[in-house]
Symmetry: D2
Subunit: 359 residues, 4 copies
């Protein structure tokens, strides 16, 4: 249970890090969407391991095969099955975690819950599962593209290094200019240095990703249980290593009073708008047409390339030293994943909003 995202736009994922393949089924993609396979592959490439010195060295082409639901270049309204074959598994790197629990990993809890686990590469709990999310997100973006919805995430903090100001202070189209995916080149360079240094120490770093959705239709969100931001939070916190979620900027300003953070209404170009956007584009759980923006916090990667004390599956003390190829910081590769989860959430809520109306 628990491997399906969404209500009307639904992604069900499968696959383990060292099994034959990862993949999934997208159900609910409306018919007639142009399926731009190059775009889907481009998104996978943004997530792919080995794309820079900052990431794991695992070599995977991550070529996706669409198995159904597309006819003559367009979606048919029927489910899209897809898969990506795993190629470069080094399962022997994990022989020592077969009977040992890696600290702050899911090894122990999976064993508790299921009674057994595929220990190779973290099995199901590996971030390799997010390949399927990137495919699901890319398909959602293809549906949203004609509506003018744009989704742009970027690394806004790595360890102690945090971008100041708001997303409006940066040119988000620059975020892909560097391997950190930070739109400020100078800060990106400092972040890259910090990551390289942690890597050299066999250590890891966490940080934050900020995401901006612009052009999102107003009226999305289903109070009271399925408020837009509640769904967004659940989507983001389902990503590996995510620990926190905030939307708008009020959490940064909890020292302020209501009179300082209320968003006053005005009319502009014949539409009702807000003068400020502390609310982050969502009021009462429903989008209001302003930019939606939010931040996701990620913990440092749990896999350290240094010795750590731990216990084996029988509870006996032992020492674990991981080998192999690991990201010292997930942030750069998590950027397209955050975007994918956001895209799926927007499309799902859009379809739910349509499904709430007779005309």
């Amino acid at each position: 249970m628990g491997n399906t995202f969404g209500t009307l736009y639904r992604l069900t994922t499968f696959g383990e890090s060292h099994g034959p393949a990862v993949g999934g089924v997208v159900d609910g993609l409306p018919a007639g969407v142009e399926i731009d396979q190059a775009f889907i592959q481009h998104e996978l490439d943004r997530r792919r391991p080995g794309q820079s010195a900052l990431t794991t060295g695992r070599r995977e082409a991550d070529r996706v095969e669409l198995l159904s639901g597309v006819f003559e270049g367009r979606s048919t309204g029927c489910p899209i099955g897809f898969l990506v074959r795993n190629a470069d598994q080094h399962s022997s790197d994990y022989a020592n975690v077969r009977d040992t629990f890696r600290p702050s990993h899911a090894d122990y809890t999976y064993t508790l819950k299921y009674g057994l686990r595929d220990h190779r590469g973290g099995g199901r709990s590996s971030a390799r599962e997010t390949i399927s999310r990137v495919v699901g997100g890319a398909l959602a973006r293809l549906a949203l593209r004609p509506l003018g919805v744009e989704i742009r995430a970027y690394t806004s903090q790595v360890g102690p290094l945090a971008l100041g100001g708001s997303y409006l202070d940066y040119d988000l189209d620059r975020r892909e200019d560097n391997p950190v995916r930070c739109p400020d080149a100078a800060m990106a360079a400092r972040m890259a240095d910090l990551i390289a240094q942690a890597k050299a120490d066999g250590d890891t770093l966490g940080g934050r990703i900020t995401c901006v959705i612009s052009g999102c239709p107003a009226g999305l969100g289903e109070p009271v249980a399925d408020k837009f931001h509640a769904r967004l939070a659940a989507a983001m916190l389902s990503i590996n290593a995510a620990k926190g979620f905030e939307y708008g900027d009020i959490c940064q300003h909890l020292d302020r009073r209501g009179s300082e953070v209320n968003d006053l209404f005005t009319s502009r170009d014949g539409r009702i708008r807000t003068l400020t956007n502390h609310s982050g584009g969502i009021q009462g759980g429903i989008t209001n047409g302003e930019d939606i923006y939010f931040t996701v916090a990620f913990k440092p990667v749990a896999t350290l390339l240094r010795e750590q004390p731990t216990v084996d599956t029988a509870g006996r003390p032992t020492v674990l030293a991981m080998r192999g190829r690991h990201d010292p910081c997930v942030l750069p590769r998590a950027v397209p994943i955050v975007e994918a989860m956001a895209a799926m959430t927007v499309l799902d809520m859009l379809l739910l909003a349509r499904g709430g109306k007779l005309f």
Copy 2:
């Protein structure tokens, strides 16, 4: 759509602030649970308006009537319908918002989405809806009680005043000793002063609530979409005025490296435990038996008892001055709501975990 919480333990709520009643249906409460009506009422009393000078003066007894699903003092496994009659509506206080949008409220987005809205007291978007959640949470707690699960939330920040340290530094059983629901008496007094001052100014404050779930069984959570903390986040962010969610304490320490925040395993009393609990009792989306703790950020109440510029429903500029009885700060009354949402989440995930096993 969107008024049901949960998968196997499900609460569906209904009701508006100034309609005849608020209420709901709980479906999935296991049979045989002792229904302690005094406990349910006690929880409602903790949420009730007018309980202190810090809250709205609306006078409501908030007596709940259980309409089904209980036989000779025990749950039957059949749905429990319930309602609380509204008594002390002052709808005339809202005459001026019939055709005007209150800033940072849901008036505008509800009108956008639904085409019409019940403007009286905020209608469906009023926090009065949370009565139903407190009932649903109280029933969940009655089911969890024999399992030893304890859920305790408290106000940890009001405006700029934040409790330092961790939840372990406080005696949480003291949180009900003051109207702020802060376990530190001195801080509670300062918070109360700050709230009183904001109220005198016709202004409002936000803050944070911290919640601790102890005694929660290990093995709850359904990766990858329904990780325990993803469900918890969605539950918390569905509460009125909630803006952010974090679990564990790693978000407070993003400047640290993995080697500083990994939770090492050890054996204690024949069980595998963690030496520290930065993870907040959840690893890989599954509870590990340690304390679960998390923080929810709330914005300042949007209703100000002072003039604010805004627009009317036709988009024309106007000035709005709210009358009536409003909370200057939701935190104290939101504490039992956070606990209720946590209780429902734990019970739902517990039942899902059981439903994932053959034996």
Copy 3:
């Protein structure tokens, strides 16, 4: 679990036969629907006990109170909570079934499943629960009314007496002219006699209800799991005492070959139509714009006013003689229930179809 019907138009019901009330919550009724309370009450009156000599003598006004979701006569898009108070319970009539299992009733299976049961009047398994469905169905019909959808069910068989031919041979608007709800007056009289005779013998009868949905939009149904007729079947078989479901007329003609029952296409009035309608308005699980028709079979009422051998809760043989007021045949009162379930299914599938499209 299991007390919610529908995906986007959702009815959650609660209530027992002898508890304080039955009721429910409708979630997903689109905003702006005119709420004609007289129509809702009219539908309840069609289902009401005591309406003729053929039905139970329990006297209930069955007045529904809408508690939310309606503002100035129109639906707001927010959930509609409602209830009907129970008034005329004779719980003492059931004292003897507290510790005894009535044959072919749910007493034994509820006890098995839940460990306890409210034995009074059958508790949750009583057909009194269908009051909530009639309310949910009436609200759905109010939404469907402007679309020209018409739903008409009638009694087509009582015991051995079955109407011949097809629904096209009868004027369905005459079905309310007699207490049996059979559109053929002569057959209705024979059926009424048969029911009266069974009643006099303390015995009961089953039969069939046929239902016709005309004016249903084409394109409804979500293959492959949620085909229109699969949803319809589930809705119908959830009604108390229902044992079978068929749609179209092919089940009556299983001796025929494909060439005899295929529905050939033609063009009529600029639209593609079928020359015959053996398929019952559904092809491949999707409505095609032709009349949808189907039949539901009901078993004889299980409660007999005569002695039957059975066992008590300890498994000891005993003899049970039921007292009280019972329907000798559910068909006449089940007609509005079949219509209600059909209406909810149509509206739900209509909203799902809208939620499957971007434009």
Copy 4:
């Protein structure tokens, strides 16, 4: 939307008749189930085309590849992705239906609903999709096997030839002895002749399949919406060409009175049992431990190898003559599909029942 079966045991399917593959994802299979791949393949072989002269001549090995969720021969509790490559498509056989609607097929309604369709081999509406259901059903059976649940379906009617009596009159283990899958050899021979004759005429036949579930635990079913038989009916009617569903034998005896078909309770071997089983093992929507049996009616195959008048996609009259390889009667190959849907329903309801209990 609409391609997922089940609540806790969930199968999501994808794939078209002439696309690269069909497949799916099973989510919710409990951990630790022994994955007997030979058994899964055996079930697929029972469904495979070309297995006898009575079926389509399409040649497919239908080898399933499991892509995840299995580790060292046992299920891990994580989703099982799987696929079966299509090999023997003759898409040119369908060139003439690209712009023409086959009578009583889904061509017209898919085009109406989705705006476009994959016309090759019926695309998504092809019964080739049921491969995925057979895999899902086989996995469910592997989970149910240690519980002693047995599921056996058989062809009980072909055109006018119907088996008399009840399932108890036949040795169901003989049902695989002949290509019709009828447990009565003499009747099987007559049925085979009838099918051969229809085939020779380019015509087709319908019929009925009866299914018996024995050893099913008592207490399964979630009234009032998710009664066991309501779920079963929805599962069965989702199968291609299914038109009707009945459970127990009361539908065959609607001329009888309640006193003739009530199932009286008795005690046998220390358990409460029923003396008869007209109810078909389900009372009040909950299984009672007796055999569950039901019948599914199937229409004659819509594809005729003879000329039929129809219209093209512009509504113009035309004549269609299908070529290619088609089943003259679906019954024999539908037997394993009925069993698969039954197995998935039992397992899903079993897990739901467990998820409804605290202990």
